[in-house]
């Protein structure tokens, strides 16, 4: 960024005098030569020392971050929490995590068929069923999104809610399934630039305050957007990744959105120490830095892959489930969570690609 842009109210002769000395960027001005040396280099009469001092202070003020006191931050946060809609997915352990993390970036990682998309659909369906004023945005990065599957998951969730509603609380069903699905908005993004554009478009829409609140945003999957850029030669791919994830996190905090990103798996050299199970020899893709860019990582796996120690590639056909009881069972492990206890695990059921709260 050029000095002229940031110091738009500084007299032009001062900016010109700095430019003649080769000082054109904020870094040049703040961290180059000291002010006395800069002043000595300038042609006499072009700028006074006081003007330089004032310009430097103005630059620091422009670049410095905003500040908030702890009590101000708390009051603001408490206001947000009071107005935020909370919903139940019907999976107790997941509901506890969402209660501790009502907005932020949650990663669902695992091998193919582990249940990532299914769980993301379930979260979306449960959110849509809870509040008729909310919208769920789904960014499909592979073209695999199935409207039929989403409709079936929403239908099953509504049917099962009649079974799992809290005693004494009313079960308010939406008027129709179509009304629910109309609030599931799907976009396609095959590269990170397209995803950035979708986010920017969403920002504009939400800032207009004419549309319902975006409570959940799903990116399924994030690996194809960020993975192709990563390499060991240049830091560019990682810079793209951290910048994108920072934008996601800022989006989540600004609009109080739960952002669910699904991430593929990659081979681990040894048994993954983050997993409770010795048979887990996979790890989340996108490298070790990605773990610092999300608020929670849930690792999903089929019970059959975990219970059969030699079945570590996710190849279901080669290794049948240990028992019929465990056939539909999947395991979710909290690899890491900033807001709840890590390293817990629980089971959930998937049948015909759909989450079942009760089978």
């Amino acid at each position: 960024m050029r000095l002229r842009t940031i110091l738009s109210t500084t007299p032009k002769p001062v900016i010109d005098a700095l430019s003649e000395c080769g000082i054109n960027t904020p870094t040049d001005f703040l961290f180059g030569a000291n002010l006395e040396t800069m002043f000595q280099r300038m042609s006499p009469g072009t700028a006074s020392y006081e003007e330089l001092l004032e310009a430097r202070q103005r630059l620091i003020n422009a670049l410095a971050a905003d500040v908030v006191t702890g009590d101000q931050m708390l009051a603001s946060q408490q206001g947000v929490q009071a107005s935020l809609s909370h919903w139940l997915t019907g999976i107790r352990e997941l509901d506890e995590i969402l209660e501790s993390m009502p907005f932020g970036v949650m990663e669902l990682s695992g091998a193919k068929g582990a249940g990532k998309t299914a769980l993301a659909l379930h979260i979306a369906a449960s959110c849509l069923a809870h509040d008729s004023n909310t919208v769920v945005h789904w960014i499909d990065t592979s073209g695999d999104f199935s409207a039929e599957r989403a409709a079936n998951q929403a239908r099953i969730f509504q049917q099962e809610r009649k079974l799992v509603a809290s005693p004494g609380s009313p079960v308010a069903l939406p008027s129709s399934l179509r009304a629910v699905l109309d609030r599931l908005q799907v976009s396609l993004a095959f590269d990170v630039e397209a995803a950035h554009d979708i986010l920017e478009s969403l920002r504009l829409t939400l800032n207009s305050e004419e549309r319902p609140h975006a409570r959940v945003l799903v990116i399924d999957a994030i690996t194809p957007l960020l993975g192709p850029h990563l390499n060991a030669v240049s830091a560019q791919g990682h810079a793209i990744m951290t910048t994108f994830m920072r934008h996601l996190r800022a989006f989540a905090q600004t609009y109080h959105t739960l952002i669910v990103v699904t991430n593929n798996a990659t081979a681990s050299q040894t048994s993954n120490p983050a997993s409770a199970f010795a048979s887990t020899t996979l790890k989340p893709a996108l490298g070790p830095s990605f773990a610092f860019l999300t608020d929670a990582t849930l690792w999903l796996a089929r019970a059959s892959d975990v219970l059969s120690p030699s079945s570590n590639t996710g190849n279901r056909s080669a290794h049948p489930p240990a028992t019929n009881d465990d056939e539909n069972v999947h395991i979710a492990e909290v690899f890491r969570s900033r807001s709840s206890i890590s390293r817990k695990w629980w089971t959930f059921q998937i049948a015909e690609g759909l989450i079942r709260i009760q089978l």
Binding site: P26, T27, L30, F31, L59, I60, N61, L63, A64, A65, D66, V67, V68, T69, G70, D71, M73, L74, Q77, Q81, S234, A235, Q236, H238, A239, T242, T243, R246, Q269, P273, S275, A276, F277, A278, S279, P288, S289, A291, F292, D295, A303, V306, L307, P309, A322, T323, D325, D326, V329, I331, R336, S337, R338, S339, I341, S342, R343, K344, W345, T347
Partner: protein, 356 residues
């Protein structure tokens, strides 16, 4: 004091000079806290921030119900530093609700034995508010912004906190802009890289503030690349024993992570780094590595039912929220291990495992 007795014991044994025997931390100390994702780094710095903003002692005044308004006073010690804490929340993840919960619980715990909230002033809410007002959170969005914010701190202090010394400066985390800065460095590859590096500007600005205002500085840092074992492992490898609960990120014997940031002080690297501006950077006083304690793996399981039964012991360890800390003090070379636990209401210290 850090108020983690195990940690204070190590520090007192590791440094030659303390202005006061009631404080293990000196003005200007720099503590780097490194570890993998979700290894307790942010909760660890919450603990430091709580200590900083808590009052040392408070005089509570009671008003009797009698008409002559006879007042009783009581002094209660909280053991805090009674200073301002500056937080550079580069990650944007400072959880004020969680911090408030920990603060409120700490105050309540001290007051519970001797205090009747209805009869005394200030009230618990007043105390919480006055503590939180000593906490100032900045959210820079780049290394340049972070450096500029550090340059502005003296002016901010004089204007907004003229009567309260800044006891603590936290940067959580110093690694947030690592990849962007590294990519920028690739674009400026050459002899001037170090001086042009945004991280260089952050460190020089940090050192200026450290010298002028003398806060204790705590930096959280990512643990990305484990240190690999070699044939000439330093004595720290003796921290690992066959029954150890210390995880080893690299799969070998060394529980530490490489310093991926550059330019950045790396006092434990062999061979030592040749940094052109090292004298302009804040020197690391203590380096702390945080790791989740090991738990037994579940293996040879026939059914989920078997897994749940086998998980009982593991779940007990997991539920404690135990974090292992390994502290290395640069001046003396002493290495110590300590454990703390993150509970729902508080951060608890455990024992010092060893120090030497």
């Amino acid at each position: 004091m850090t108020r983690l007795p195990a940690l204070d014991t190590h520090i007192f044994a590791s440094l030659a000079y303390f202005p006061s025997q009631s404080s293990s931390l000196n003005r200007g100390d720099v503590i780097e806290v490194q570890g993998p994702a979700c290894s307790g780094k942010t909760h660890f710095v919450y603990h430091f921030a709580l200590n900083c903003i808590l009052p040392d002692e408070v005089v509570f005044t009671a008003i009797d119900s009698d008409d002559d308004v006879q007042k009783r006073t009581r002094t209660i010690e909280f053991g805090g530093w009674n200073k301002a804490a500056i937080v550079m929340d580069t990650d944007g993840r400072w959880d004020i609700a969680r911090f408030h919960h920990l603060l409120r619980h700490r105050l309540t715990r001290v007051l519970a034995a001797t205090y009747d909230a209805d009869d005394f002033q200030p009230s618990l809410s007043d105390l919480v508010t006055s503590c939180l007002q000593r906490l100032r959170i900045f959210r820079p969005t780049s290394s340049l912004s972070l450096a500029a914010t550090l340059l502005q701190l003296p002016t901010y202090h004089a204007t907004h906190l003229p009567d309260i010394p800044i006891g603590l400066l936290l940067i959580d985390s110093i690694s947030t802009f690592y990849w962007e800065d590294r990519f920028n460095g690739e674009k400026h590859r050459g002899t001037t890289f170090t001086s042009l590096s945004p991280l260089n500007h952050v460190l020089t600005s940090l050192q200026k503030f450290r010298l002028s205002h003398g806060p204790v500085t705590v930096l959280t840092n990512w643990g990305l690349s484990p240190v690999k074992s070699t044939a000439t492992d330093p004595p720290s490898s003796t921290l690992i024993d066959t029954q150890s609960t210390i995880p080893t990120p690299g799969g070998g014997h060394i529980p530490f992570y490489r310093q991926h940031l550059n330019p950045f002080p790396a006092p434990f690297e062999h061979p030592p780094r040749n940094l052109a501006n090292l004298n302009s950077y804040p020197p690391i006083t203590h380096h702390i590595t945080l790791l989740l304690t090991l738990t037994p793996n579940l293996s040879d399981l026939a059914t989920i039912h078997d897994a749940k039964e086998a998980d009982t012991q593991r779940d007990e360890i997991v539920s404690k929220g135990q974090i292992l800390g390994i502290i290395r003090t640069v001046e003396s070379g002493r290495v110590g291990r300590f454990i703390f636990e993150i509970h729902a209401d508080e951060i608890c210290s455990s024992e010092l495992l060893d120090s030497g």
